[in-house]
Symmetry: C2
Subunit: 201 residues, 2 copies
DNA sequence: CACAAAACATGACTATTGTCATGTTTTATT
DNA sequence: AATAAAACATGACAATAGTCATGTTTTGTG
């Protein structure tokens, strides 16, 4: 298990690269993205410390990465040769069962997301995203939950399949309604219950 | 491993049921659906013989089913108590690795679908669906590939997150353009290459 | 600090898809 | 074969989100 550091603008791996290593996030956040033919970006998931890179599940089944893993700021990643990792899993039923549980969980998550994409409006999708982020990476502050991951309106748009402009407009409305404050560097959720309500209406 | 048969109108399990069993499809097709609060349906996946029910991955991680499993026509399903299955996986590294591979594959599939939902128009999503179905369940016939699963326009709509009316309109256009023919009981893909092109444009 | 680049913002207009209403055709069941 | 139910179809209109253009503010960097 070796540790590698990556900075802004670098890639951990890119769509189409062979799946040589198994990865785990140690520090920082990593985003998994796919690109469409005309260059539009779709962010599948933001990985945080402890997450396996199975958002890019190709490591488990597939010779090539189906998406790109991109650091968000400075990150530190642990990695291990795929073969060694598989050998370890074979020898260690507890670890294998843990991976099965983890993958099951991630699959459920992906399908819940598919449901949101299929049925919800742009504002609801954005609200769902904010709720998720708040629960995964929010720290309590005087005026609400601050999101520790730096996310621009553009990033949010890519995560829920809308355009940057709509993300901006909806965030402006959320701000007016006192549900959130701030922008990328300092985004604060002020009314989590109302956002939850909106997400599930 | 016991075999159970289900017919139209029955449920194999429903959203919220405890996850007692691990399931595999033996014969027929099963659809995994989630419902929104206002009753709209979202079909996550159509399972075919050999598929594990990990579209409903709760069996692997979670005490309750996050979706409903519904037979499409007559089906036969194999099942095993969850505990026994987990015990078997622990004792059998090959089986465990196989499940890991399968889950990884399904996760990739789910994320590819998320990308399609995020970036593509209704007609492209429908085209993607038809391509997938053709490749998974199509049988060659004189005039094209026949889809062996019975799918109404409504079913298709639920699978790609559009309304029944738009599904009907788009299918009418596809028919006019000689990409497909027929309806639910006898749906034939006449021009797979063109559908593929449309799906990825 | 100055300056460039990125992020945020807003308006006008368009495209896409949903909604609702109504009617026809197909399929299944007695 | 008759009949009910489901599926398919279509029009008119509304709502939602995308596109493009342009301008302001914030952030990062030499």
């Amino acid at each position: 298990m070796t540790e590698t550091r990556y900075g802004k603008g670098e890639y951990i791996f890119r769509e189409g690269d062979p799946t040589e290593y198994f990865h785990i996030v140690k520090e920082g956040s990593v985003k998994c993205v796919k690109l469409s033919l005309d260059g539009k970006e779709c962010t599948l998931k933001v990985l945080m410390p402890g997450d396996l890179f199975c958002c890019d599940a190709a490591t488990f089944d597939g010779a090539y990465h189906p998406g790109t893993a991109q650091p968000m700021g400075d990150v530190s990643v642990l990695r291990m040769k795929k073969e060694a990792y598989f050998k370890m899993l074979r020898a260690n039923p507890d670890a294998a069962m843990e991976v099965i549980r983890y993958l099951g969980n991630r699959l459920n998550e992906a399908q819940e997301k598919a449901k949101v994409f299929a049925l919800d409006r742009a504002d609801q999708r954005l609200a769902s995203l904010l709720v998720n982020l708040a629960e995964r990476s929010g720290v309590q502050e005087s005026n609400g939950l601050r999101i520790t991951v730096r996310l621009t309106r553009q990033d949010m748009a890519n995560m829920v399949g809308i355009t940057t402009e709509t993300a901006i407009r909806i965030m402006a409305r959320f701000k007016k309604d006192r549900l959130v404050t701030g922008t990328a560097a300092r985004l604060v959720i002020r009314d989590l219950p109302k956002l939850k309500l909106l997400a599930s209406t």
